[in-house]
């Protein structure tokens, strides 16, 4: 055991030393639990190059991830969007080595994952969709200690950091409660806490708000935003929840059918939609007027709200004057009129053609 102990220690220390994120001081290596991350934004935390993964064979072959390449800078918060079956989870698992890609390479903090898996993942942890991620029969604090250890950190040396983490996530009062006795939202927070317990600098979150109620989802979003902004964590988050992506992410990658179809900041992606829609609400809009409007404008939606009709249509520039003239000629008394800004859901639908995958997620 003596040799194994020594080898293990050297291995973990060497891995941490090799990581560019840990080059300046020993302090920087674990600062996610309490101190600002001093790693310069701009260095690459993650390089994904030509990753492909196919399942099955022959006629039944499914290309889950198709030649995907991108980089993530340290300190960035990147969102991964895509309809069900787009390949998001397979991509994340391929990056993490839980799925072995057929082609391509993954480099984490400068270490090729296929050359030195253990070394590459020393500063990485993940909270995956549908996984319990931690041990429900242990208490919250025991989970943090256990996962800190397997992440390569002596748990006795990070007790105060764990206290801080528990405070920040609102788990301090439940530190000695078995996880199985906590609510779903609290369990999700424990998962996040255990992911951060070992001082990971790059974390992957796959559907972190899945199944959470509105309040728990909002709390988790707030905490993710704080972690990203204040502690400089590099976060890669996959979600159907547009609020999570819009609130937390600096940059969004959109996947469809295993490929990246868009990659940019939220603002850049919103520019893609460029919808320029107008929403008019009036009780005077009848079917005849609707037909006239449809002949001139592109109608986006029509709905009845409290006895009035709410019509959303595309109208810009000169068209806007034409719309007003049409409404005035028809004797319409306008109750409400405002422009509708495009949101990520519009971008998502226009890029992927998926109109079903996001239903029910916006309210969170």
């Amino acid at each position: 055991m003596g040799d194994a102990t020594s080898t293990g220690q050297q291995s973990v220390e060497r891995s941490r030393e090799e990581s560019p994120s840990a080059v300046s001081t020993e302090d920087d290596t674990f600062d996610v639990l309490g101190e600002a991350n001093t790693a310069a934004i701009g260095e690459q935390a993650l390089v994904v190059d030509g990753v492909s993964k196919r399942f099955g064979g022959g006629d039944n072959e499914i290309v889950a991830v198709d030649d995907v390449s991108f980089t993530v800078e340290q300190g960035a918060v990147v969102g991964l969007l895509g309809p069900n079956g787009a390949g998001k989870t397979t991509l994340i698992k391929s990056i993490l080595g839980m799925v072995l890609p057929d082609e391509g390479s993954v480099e984490i903090f400068g270490t090729d994952a296929s050359d030195g898996r253990r070394g590459a993942y020393v500063d990485v942890d993940a909270m995956l969709e549908g996984a319990r991620n931690d041990y429900w029969r242990l208490t919250v604090r025991e989970n943090l200690r256990y996962f800190a250890t397997i992440s390569g950190v002596d748990p006795d040396s990070v007790t105060d950091r764990h206290d801080r983490l528990l405070n920040r996530l609102g788990l301090a009062d439940h530190a000695d409660t078995a996880v199985r006795n906590l609510s779903r939202g609290m369990k999700q927070k424990v998962s996040l806490a255990s992911v951060l317990a070992g001082g990971a600098k790059l974390i992957f979150l796959d559907e972190p708000t899945l199944g959470l109620d509105v309040e728990s989802s909002r709390t988790l979003r707030t905490e993710l935003t704080r972690l990203a902004r204040e502690e400089g964590l590099t976060i890669f988050v996959s979600s159907h929840n547009m609020a999570v992506i819009e609130d937390v992410c600096d940059r969004v990658i959109v996947m469809s059918a295993g490929q990246i179809v868009a990659d940019g900041t939220v603002e850049e992606l919103l520019g893609i939609a460029n919808r320029n829609a107008i929403q008019v609400t009036s009780a005077d809009i009848d079917d005849r007027l609707l037909s006239r409007l449809e002949a001139t404008f592109t109608l986006l939606s029509v709905e009845t709200v409290d006895g009035s009709r709410r019509v959303e249509l595309e109208a810009t520039g000169e068209n806007l004057y034409t719309l007003m003239d049409t409404l005035r000629d028809a004797g319409v008394t306008i109750e409400q009129l405002h422009t509708v800004e495009p949101d990520l859901e519009d971008v998502f639908v226009s890029l992927t053609g998926d109109t079903q995958g996001l239903r029910g997620e916006r309210s969170q």
Partner: protein
């Protein structure tokens, strides 16, 4: 979300070694054992119930013949409860880790799952020894039988004997990682241990290479005849050690390659 402790200075973290990992894994197993004793108690009760059926039912059917071979039956039953405990706890535990998603999580750690699984195996053996000793004492009281229990000899031989079963547990766990639902069927393998424990090692010496068989024969000599560890021939001890290490290594290799295959197929965390 409070930041009450944020202004306080915090100590610098130290890297964890295999010592810390062993301590973490063993402590976790200990906590679960003492906090949730129902499984252990249930196992003891079921073991004693079946032994009671075997003993009292056998007395009705075989009478004196059973009494004459009772010591051997008790030693064999003791080894069987040890084997079942070690095998099922390892294979079921791996299945549970897959189901919970925690096995996937271990994959992306500096230590990986391999040492965790080995430390867990050690914890399971210790735990199984505790429960099986209770069963053994109860069997001796129930039947009024006495055995030669020299702790070092008994623990060493029984420990090495069930180490080979631990290897089978890892192999079964690996197959469960690949083919999830097969785990329940693999539990039936534990009934095959009865055959291995009672293998005819004198008539068919090659059976000594099977898991449990040689260890069972040595344990009978130790606990029934009073042979001490140092009184066995070096060949016997070397064979016991070789079988234990061989099956453990083989089982672990199966687990390793099954896990790699599961990663290739993308089914590591699916359940």
């Amino acid at each position: 979300m409070t930041d009450t402790a944020d202004s306080e200075p915090i100590a610098q973290p130290r890297p964890a070694t295999y010592y810390h990992l062993a301590r973490a894994v063993l402590y976790r197993e200990f906590l679960i054992f003492v906090r949730y004793p129902a499984n252990a108690i249930g196992g003891i009760v079921v073991s004693l119930f079946f032994f009671g059926v075997l003993f009292y039912g056998g007395q009705q059917l075989a009478g004196q013949a059973l009494t004459e071979s009772l010591e051997g039956i008790i030693v064999g039953y003791f080894l069987w409860t040890l084997s079942v405990g070690a095998y099922s706890s390892v294979s079921n535990d791996i299945g549970s880790e897959v189901q919970w998603g925690t096995l996937e999580r271990h994959i992306t750690t500096p230590f990986g799952f391999a040492p965790v699984a080995l430390f867990k195996g050690i914890a399971k053996i210790v735990r199984t020894f505790l429960t099986s000793l209770i069963v053994l004492v109860a069997m001796l009281l129930m039947t009024g039988t006495t055995l030669q229990i020299e702790p070092v000899t008994t623990m060493s031989i029984a420990g090495l004997a069930i180490t080979s079963v631990l290897g089978l547990g890892f192999a079964a766990g690996g197959i469960t990682v690949l083919y999830k639902r097969i785990g329940n069927w693999l539990n039936l393998l534990q009934f095959g241990f009865i055959v291995l424990i009672s293998a005819p090692v004198f008539d068919a010496p090659w059976t000594r290479l099977l898991p449990l068989a040689h260890g069972s024969a040595l344990l009978q000599r130790a606990m029934v005849d009073g042979t001490r560890l140092w009184q066995f021939s070096p060949f016997d001890i070397a064979l016991l050690l070789g079988v234990a290490v061989g099956y453990l290594a083989g089982g672990y290799l199966v687990f390793h390659y099954a896990t790699r295959r599961a990663r290739r197929l993308g089914v590591l965390g699916d359940y």
